[in-house]
């Protein structure tokens, strides 16, 4: 993974110093809150319902065991002993004090981490396929591109005061695990017919109050021209994006209002105005960054592992975990392993300091010291040998991290919701907890098969409910929490926005409604169908009725 050079290191140190000075000037009143707010947001610091919240960047979701241990240490020393992994591959601390934040940022800089631009009207964490570099269906590793964009966008002088936040995602595989069609800019890295590397560029996607699928900007932007093209999009957005209404300020609104044709034309015009001489360093820099992402020298192993097969026969509980929580790896004899942070009754995506250390230990022992964060709020170990999978599971199980539910019904994605967030209209975590309890039984989960339930505690949709097979949106109705259900969403390359099913349910009725729907699906599905397949076959109207059927 990427290692800072002296320049990167100096950049984050200076940034911490800069923020320290800004905090001091805030306390004396030299900076008022209106002026300070964008500055603290650009260093990841929110003010929430009970406390400040610090969002630390985990660039494209990749981190080392050393970094994970530092995150644990920060949780213990400066917070309440835990952190929350988010749907954009970052980590959030819920209880930092403003006066401690510069010290926290220094601890992060010690391990080549930061909280730069994880909030604010600027370019945010560039996310990528969590299986980058190891997925069986990979064409090219998207992470060097994400790293290049991270550097290019850091403290960008022109694009630090945008109309609104800006989110970029990169994928390099056939399946899209980076949700690129719902990002402000989505990039698909591939090789064209001539063997040239470049990107399919999408723009104007987003969730939030007005979910929209991105439009395709270009079939192919050659590698050397990527930054120039992204700069062109950013310049048009910064100049033309709406500033009159916070809820209409994202680029998706601009694209929608201008129309795809017009917007593309504006970007192309800007693209040609940008001097071409900036291209050369881009390719050189990309190659330099790529050198950090060379696949490790894997031992030459056979695809099948007798040790694994034997362990699965002897240990049914492990067998289940191996079936459910692993994914195909491009290197023979290896798997990608998912550590689920969705225990029964738990808050989705949370990990205690001890759990973080256990995961760091597991990474050192079984995954070459590397971990990933997925958009499902889980942790991924990218380099596990099949021969060692049983030993890994034993270690995880001993640490309470062995639950076998990756992409199953109890692998619920939920934003922090009103329990933490000042923007929320309803709580989301208790609903997630109830779902994990209702559907806890492992064989029932395997019977139901893969299904995405996503919960957002307000229309900002940080829980990505629009793209869940079942999406739950928490709102307020006549002084109480009410939960609307959407069906048929899809974050992948077959992007779809979930359709509203009807009136909302009260907090004590929403999980019952979902249970009715699940039983309806189990009763009506054809052999081997997933929930998604049954939904498409039967159609929205029939499926939604099951939610409201008399009980």
């Amino acid at each position: 993974m990427y290692r800072y050079d002296d320049f990167d290191y100096r950049f984050v140190r200076e940034r911490v110093s800069q923020f320290r000075g800004q905090v001091e000037r805030r306390l004396t009143g030299a900076l008022n809150e209106e002026e300070f707010k964008p500055l603290r947001l650009m260093n990841g610091l929110y003010l929430q319902l009970h406390a400040y919240m610090l969002r630390v960047a985990i660039p494209y979701g990749t981190l080392s065991s050393r970094q994970m241990r530092q995150l644990a240490q920060i949780a213990e020393v400066y917070d309440r002993g835990y952190g929350h992994f988010t749907t954009r591959q970052n980590i959030q601390y819920n209880w930092p004090k403003l006066k401690d934040v510069p010290d926290i940022l220094d601890m992060l800089a010690d391990v080549e981490m930061h909280a730069i631009q994880t909030s604010g009207n600027c370019i945010r964490n560039v996310t990528a396929d969590p299986y980058g570099g190891v997925a069986a269906d990979e064409i090219a590793d998207p992470r060097p591109t994400a790293e290049l964009l991270r550097q290019w966008s850091s403290n960008h002088p022109e694009f630090s005061f945008l109309p609104r936040k800006f989110k970029v995602a990169v994928t390099g595989a056939r399946a899209d695990r980076a949700v690129i069609k719902f990002h402000d800019i989505g990039l698909r890295l591939f090789e064209n017919a001539s063997g040239q590397r470049g990107y399919e560029v999408w723009a104007g996607g987003g969730l939030g109050r007005t979910p929209m699928i991105a439009i395709k900007m270009r079939d192919f932007v050659p590698e050397a021209e990527l930054l120039r093209y992204v700069e062109a999009i950013m310049r048009v957005y910064n100049a033309e994006g709406r500033r009159d209404n916070k809820y209409k300020a994202r680029i998706k609104i601009l694209v929608h209002e201008q129309g795809g044709e017009q917007f593309r034309a504006l970007v192309e015009e800007e693209f040609y105005r940008i001097a071409g001489d900036e291209a050369a360093p881009v390719e050189k820099e990309l190659r330099r960054i790529e050198s950090f992402f060379q696949p490790p020298a894997h031992p030459d192993l056979p695809e099948d592992s007798h040790a694994l097969a034997g362990a699965m026969l002897r240990h049914p509980e492990f067998a289940r975990w191996a079936r459910v929580n692993t994914r195909a790896h491009k290197a023979a004899g290896h798997v990608i392993a998912v550590i689920s942070l969705k225990p029964t009754g738990g808050a989705p995506g949370d990990a205690t300091a001890d759990e973080m250390r256990s995961m760091a230990d597991a990474a050192d022992a079984f995954s070459l010291g590397e971990l990933r964060v997925s958009a499902e709020q889980n942790i991924v170990l990218p380099y596990v040998r099949k021969d060692e999978l049983f030993a890994l599971w034993q270690a995880l199980d001993a640490a309470g991290l062995g639950i076998a539910n990756a992409e199953m019904i109890s692998d619920v994605v939920a934003c922090p919701g009103l329990d933490y967030c000042a923007l929320a209209t309803a709580r989301s975590i208790p609903i997630a907890q109830e779902i994990t309890e209702r559907f806890a039984e492992p064989s029932l989960q395997e019977k139901i098969g893969p299904i995405r339930i996503k919960i957002s505690g307000c229309i900002n949709a940080c829980g990505h409910h629009h793209v869940g097979d079942i999406g739950i949106l928490g709102l307020e109705k006549t002084g109480a929490e009410a939960y609307q259900i959407t069906l048929g969403g899809d974050p992948s390359e077959t992007a779809a926005i979930g359709e509203r099913s009807g009136p909302g349910f009260p907090a004590d009725g929403v999980v019952d409604a979902i249970e009715r729907l699940i039983h309806f699906y189990l009763g009506r599905r054809s052999d081997g169908e997933t929930f998604k397949q049954t939904y498409h076959r039967l159609g929205h109207d029939l499926m939604k009725e099951a939610l409201y059927a008399a009980h």
Binding site: R26, L27, T28, G29, N32, E33, L47, L49, H50, A51, Y52, A75, E76, V77, Y78, D79, R80, G81, Y82, W95, P96, K97, L98, K99, A347, T352, A353, D354, L418, D419, Y420, A424, T425, R427, I429, P430, Q433, G479, A480, E481
Partner: protein, 118 residues
């Protein structure tokens, strides 16, 4: 029939530390039941203005009014579920007392929170 006057208190976050505080006669306190109660629009405006002047003095941030009703002891309690959560000062699914259950012991976390005086 006369419209019943609204009861309100003022809340904000402690600038340096971040926790929720409420404006009382003795200054800002995390103990919402001690908050000064405004009856009707005029008192509410004054109370909010007092809060904002502390915001300008860089003591607190994010001042706003909260609707309340008086409980059996005559203390203000929020009427809206959001503010009920806020005064609880912790997620709804945590036990009422701070518990070490899910949390590793933290050298820095204390159940005491500091008062900020005017």
């Amino acid at each position: 029939m006369a419209k019943k006057s609204k009861l309100q208190i003022v809340t904000a976050n402690h600038l340096l530390e971040g926790h929720s505080v409420f404006l009382s006669d003795a200054g800002w306190t995390p103990e919402h039941w001690r908050a000064r109660v405004a009856l009707g629009a005029e008192q509410a405006t004054d109370l909010e203005a007092a809060g904002r002047s502390d915001e300008d003095a860089n003591l607190v941030v994010g001042v706003y009014l909260v609707d309340v009703e008086l409980d059996a002891s005559g203390d203000p309690q929020p009427t809206h579920y959001r503010e009920k959560l806020r005064v609880r000062a912790r997620p709804s699914f945590w036990p009422d007392e701070p518990s070490p259950m899910r949390l590793a012991p933290s050298a820095r976390f204390s159940a005491e929170v500091s008062h900020v005086s005017l």
